[in-house]
């Protein structure tokens, strides 16, 4: 039950885009049509669900203050947590690079629809943000981290697909010249954020 509550919470209440503004750059750049938007969204779900547990294990067994006790008792006072940024980003960048190569080699069909987004994802703040939130909030075990990763990914996917759907319709509306394109996208994202805030306070 706790897992389910965490999962729902990370999709709606703590939505990456609307509550924390993570991944805004690609959110605005790639949300011009639904098809590419859902491709990027799927790639984000996948990378978040895999890199978060990876980074969690790295943090828990190597970086945390006193984490190295499993090697030797004398390391109990070692605190490597200042290295967490560099380790997290290296994991994410390396992982996306490997996945890109594997997908390109074994599934060319998938590569042409999804692979082009993978390098983009290495610098998507939603992924690194997920790892940093995981570190800050101190989740108890790998299961919770997986739920959080999957939930945040789905939340991001939902956000970008709805945004793309709205923007497709926007092409036919009459908008003041200065607001066309970027300006109106910001304002719509803001309005969607207000709508998503109604999920706040839901207890499962």
């Amino acid at each position: 039950m706790e897992y389910l509550s965490l999962f729902i919470k990370s999709i709606f209440v703590d939505n990456m885009v609307f509550a924390f503004f993570l991944g805004m750059c690609s959110f605005l750049a790639v949300s011009k049509n639904v098809k590419t938007a859902s491709g990027l969204g799927l790639a984000v779900i996948f990378v978040l669900t895999v890199t978060l547990p990876l980074n969690y294990l790295l943090y828990e067994y190597i970086l945390k203050p006193g984490a190295l006790t499993w090697v030797s008792e004398s390391f109990a006072t070692v605190d490597l947590s200042f290295l967490s940024y560099i380790v997290f980003i290296a994991t994410i960048a390396a992982f996306t690079q490997i996945v890109e190569m594997v997908v390109e080699k074994f599934a060319p069909g998938l590569y042409s629809s999804l692979g082009i987004f993978l390098p983009l994802i290495a610098v998507n703040c939603a992924i690194l943000g997920g790892s940093l939130f995981m570190q800050e909030r101190g989740y108890a075990n790998v299961g919770e981290v997986c739920c959080f990763g999957l939930g945040s990914g789905i939340g991001w996917f939902l956000a970008i697909v709805t945004m793309a759907a709205i923007r497709e319709k926007l092409a036919y509306s009459n908008i003041p010249n200065g607001l066309k394109g970027l300006g109106i996208s910001f304002i719509i994202t803001g309005l969607m954020g207000i709508a998503f805030m109604s999920f706040m306070g839901i207890q499962l």
């Binding site: 503004f21 750059c25 940024y85 980003i89 290296a90 610098v123 992924i127 300006g183 304002i187 803001g190």
Partner: protein, 210 residues
């Protein structure tokens, strides 16, 4: 040290080629830190320093980095500077560091930095790259400060923690004024930024889309 081309480097990012409102880079971190002016100023300063120094370093290394692994090398250089900033903030201004929480770490994936490295520092000499990085950071800072000023003034009636709107104006003290609670909430940052873009594009008509 600055010739004609260099003049363009520092004029452009501040207005006509502003990283946020024109190039749409670095939006992620810009919005969450604008509830208070202090956070925005610290963030602007950190991003300016990181962009300037990582552009300088990548530019120095530009002929030795193999093309295939350049993204990882860039990320590592940027992460190095962000760790430095993070440690300095934790040591000298712990409250601010707590307030900015994960957003300091997120400077690493701030697209302005990667964008400037890819677009400028990889093909230019160190000194112009440094200047370019610095002024792009400043262009980012200007927008942050505008949004944060509006949000802090209307949302809590203060600026940098000093009270601007007198206490006696408030309804609970028998006055007529109330803070706009909406300004403190996340979505308002986006709507304000949309308005900034609108004003910018009304002044400079070349930037309008279609």
């Amino acid at each position: 040290m600055l010739n004609k081309m260099d003049k363009d480097i520092y004029k452009k990012p501040l207005f006509k080629g502003n990283p946020i409102t024109v190039l749409v880079l670095g939006i992620c971190s810009s919005l969450a830190v604008t509830v208070q002016l202090k956070g925005a100023l610290v963030m602007a300063l950190s991003v300016t320093l990181v962009t300037a120094f990582s552009s300088l370093f990548i530019s120095l290394l530009r002929n030795t980095i193999p093309n295939r692994v350049r993204i990882i090398v860039q990320l590592v250089v940027v992460a190095l500077f962000v760790i430095l900033i993070d440690q300095v903030l934790k040591a000298f201004s712990y409250d601010t560091s707590k307030m900015l929480s994960v957003y300091i770490g997120l400077i690493i994936t701030n697209c302005i930095i990667m964008g400037r490295i890819e677009a400028f520092a990889l093909g230019n000499k160190p000194w112009p790259s440094f200047v370019d990085g610095m002024f792009n950071g400043l262009g980012y800072g200007i927008i942050l400060v505008i949004v944060a000023t509006v949000r802090e003034l209307l949302g809590s009636g203060t600026l940098l923690g000093f009270r601007i709107i007198p206490e006696s104006w408030y309804v609970q003290n028998g006055g007529f004024y109330m803070n706009n609670g909406l300004m403190i909430l996340p979505p308002m940052a986006l709507i304000l930024l949309g308005c900034v873009v609108w004003v910018h594009r009304t002044i400079d008509k070349d930037l309008q889309e279609k």
